[in-house]
Amino acid sequence: MATKKISKNATGPAKKKQAAAKSAMDVVKLARDAKRPHIYDFIRLICSDFEELHGDRLVNDDKGLVCGFGTISAGSAKKQGDVKVLIIGHHKGATVEENVEANFGMAQPDGYRKAMRLAKLAEKFHIPIVTFVDTPGAYPGDTAEARGQAEAIAKSLEFFSLLKTPIVVVVTGEGGSGGALAIAVGDRILMMENAVYSVISPEGCAGILWRDGAQAPAAAEALKITAADLKRLGAVDVIVSEPAGGAQKDHAKAAAYVKKAVLDALNELADIPADDLVAARYAKFRAMGNFY
């Protein structure tokens, strides 16, 4: 399998040892590393062309969630040729100005509504969707509440579960709760080796259940939020390896691994009739947490 091959390339024996010693909180720190590749890095390194599109056609253009059409060229792996896709991804920002403008990747309801608007357009032309998840969570502000953050997330979950086009999800950094899940209902869920994905931040969980935010490392451990844990729990399909030391060390290499895994996933989904795709997607999430 392709993923296995990637892991072989990416991990030497020394790195394996290091990985085993990493605590959940160490992974959280890596997942949040400001030098990790961000959405525009991935777009630049994966797509041969990209056109960003803006606005929810209601009130706003949210900078915390980037959407646009692009081409992923399969390059030397000739079989597929070029694949046109809709990219949807959280934008944390690379500079302080961008951080503020994008609310550190905490999307507003307008962001999720923009994503749905363009995803509907992608469905119309049978264009597959690739989402990049990297957010501390949906924006918790008064404006977000006034414009219906809960409704926007809820609607996204329902909407993407019914959308008749392939959806590949890549959790690249922080998968923060509902704000992450809103763009993470898909047919294949990929997760980078040092990404995390959780129902609540370790700090938030520690604050509530330990009554002490400083207990975040214990909460991180208890919540089981690393890629390996999530794969074991069935919430993630494929773990994408990272360059030694983490994706922040070598953006080009990290993006190359992601590109390969995304192309493999798109290839697997390409010939499945839309109705079967939607049925399988429902069955996939339907089976999560069914112990009964």
Partner: protein, 275 residues
Amino acid sequence: MAWFEKKEGVKIPPTKALWQVCPRCKTYISKDEWKANNSICPSCNYHGRLGARARIAQLADKDSFAEVFRAVSYSDHLSFHDASGAYKEKIDAVIAKSGEKESVVMGTASMGGIPVMLGVMDFSFMGGSLGTGTGERIARACEQAIAERRPLIICSASGGARMHEGILSLMQMAKTSAAVGRVKEAGLPYISVLTDPTTGGVSASFAMLGDINITEPKALIGFAGRRVIENTIHQKLPPDFQTAEYLLAHGFIDKIVERSELKAFIVKMLHYFGF
């Protein structure tokens, strides 16, 4: 030190036993009066929390409610422990005390003679949190509603996803939203009653997805917690923030319905839809 300063650890049990303080307007009401008034504040009309069984009794036709999926309970697949102990011990104690096995009670019922699928969440069960068992009960209910052509009615009351069940509790948001989506696609109505309080992962999933979304006066409904938001924007929020009235004004609720009118309103909607 002022003479009137409250000493720590001083309890006032007689007051608590006799009086109910309205959480909204802080008026003291005798417990008997509170109960006789259907847990509604006579002073400000705040509609207080009801247990699942009490609400089912108000909504379902007499003796029509037949519970389903009672065997579906919680799962401790993470063997979750926190500072105060094991999740398993905590929830087992809640189960032993309440007699319920999950935070939503599901069943078939009739309302005004119309066969429906009825689910009611109970905030007193782990804060009405959405666990894997809760999500499973709701998904099964949706599938049964489709198979038997029953309208779906869910009354929610929840603080959000149940973090003790980790990522799979988050996934219940996706699972339940997909499931109610299928009910709606099947040409059946889904009426969501958001009761006090409905927040976090439940407001951000199936609870907000009703064909009709209704609520009761003064209910708290929102996504993020008030303190989290105040810390984000560094401002105090107005008192009516995230109330039923605020949501109605912002366009996310079809109507605020008095508790005494709730059943009649739902039946009336079902009549409009041809049931």
